[in-house]
């Protein structure tokens, strides 16, 4: 059983940019309604893609630097990183099938 790891301003580089496998990052905030809908889907994806995709989440209220550096505006925003580069972005409460289809391109 795996679920999304919490990443901070301090650990973002190590956990996301230096990852050997693609990373799905869920940028969320505590009182954001749609974030609450996406969170369980992201946890499911963490399980299903274990070993192939690393799934992490960033609380933008607590980690303003990373959120600002990557130009986060609307939340939730899901970003995919591969080889230290941002390769795709999904904004809002997107369905699981859309997240999966997007991820598959980078596997």
């Amino acid at each position: 059983m795996s679920s999304a790891l919490s990443v901070t301003d301090a650990t973002f580089e190590e956990e996301v940019l230096n990852s050997d496998i693609p990373v799905l990052v869920d940028f969320w905030a505590p009182w954001c309604g749609p974030c609450r809908m996406v969170a369980p889907v992201v946890d499911e994806i963490a399980n299903e893609y274990e070993g192939r995709v690393k799934v992490v989440k960033v609380n933008t209220d607590e980690n303003s630097k990373v959120a600002t550096d990557f130009g986060i505006r609307s939340i939730p925003t899901l970003m995919i990183f591969k080889g230290g580069q941002k390769v795709d972005i999904l904004v809002g409460a997107v369905p699981k099938t859309k997240i999966e289809a997007t991820l598959e391109q980078f596997l």
């Binding site: 505590p30 309604g33 974030c35 609450r36």
Partner: protein
């Protein structure tokens, strides 16, 4: 959500103010709350918390470099400009009837809100 991070709830006074505003505004604009009222509850708590902390109900579904400056700019104070101009609410608070997440309610009680948001806090 993170199991260790505990967000703070808003004051009862501002939560009640936002609750009443949301009911009135939904009815006036012909929009509906989310079919999952827990989503509505979380957003109302966030709006009320911003009203507590910054004086205006800044949208809780955006990241801002500077919340005080955003409140002054007013664009994302609820009801935000996209909502007022085009009935677009990416926070899923006010939904037009044809939106896939739209429910049928235009009312939510104070207790319903706190029952949901108490799950995320220690207080």
């Amino acid at each position: 959500m993170s199991s260790t991070y505990k967000p703070q709830q808003a004051s009862d006074k501002n939560l009640e103010a936002m609750r009443k505003f949301a009911e009135t505004y939904a009815k006036r604009t012909g929009t509906y709350f989310c079919s999952d009222l827990g989503t509505t509850a979380v957003v109302l708590e966030g709006l009320a918390k911003h009203k507590d902390d910054y004086g205006s109900p800044l949208c809780p579904c955006r990241h801002y470099e500077d919340k005080e400056a955003e409140v002054a700019a007013a664009y994302w104070n609820c009801p935000c400009v996209p909502m007022r101009e085009r009935r677009e609410c990416h926070c899923l608070l006010f939904l037009t009837a044809d939106h896939p997440f739209a429910g049928t309610a235009q009312e939510i009680s104070f207790e319903q809100i706190r029952e949901e948001t108490n799950r995320f806090t220690v207080s």
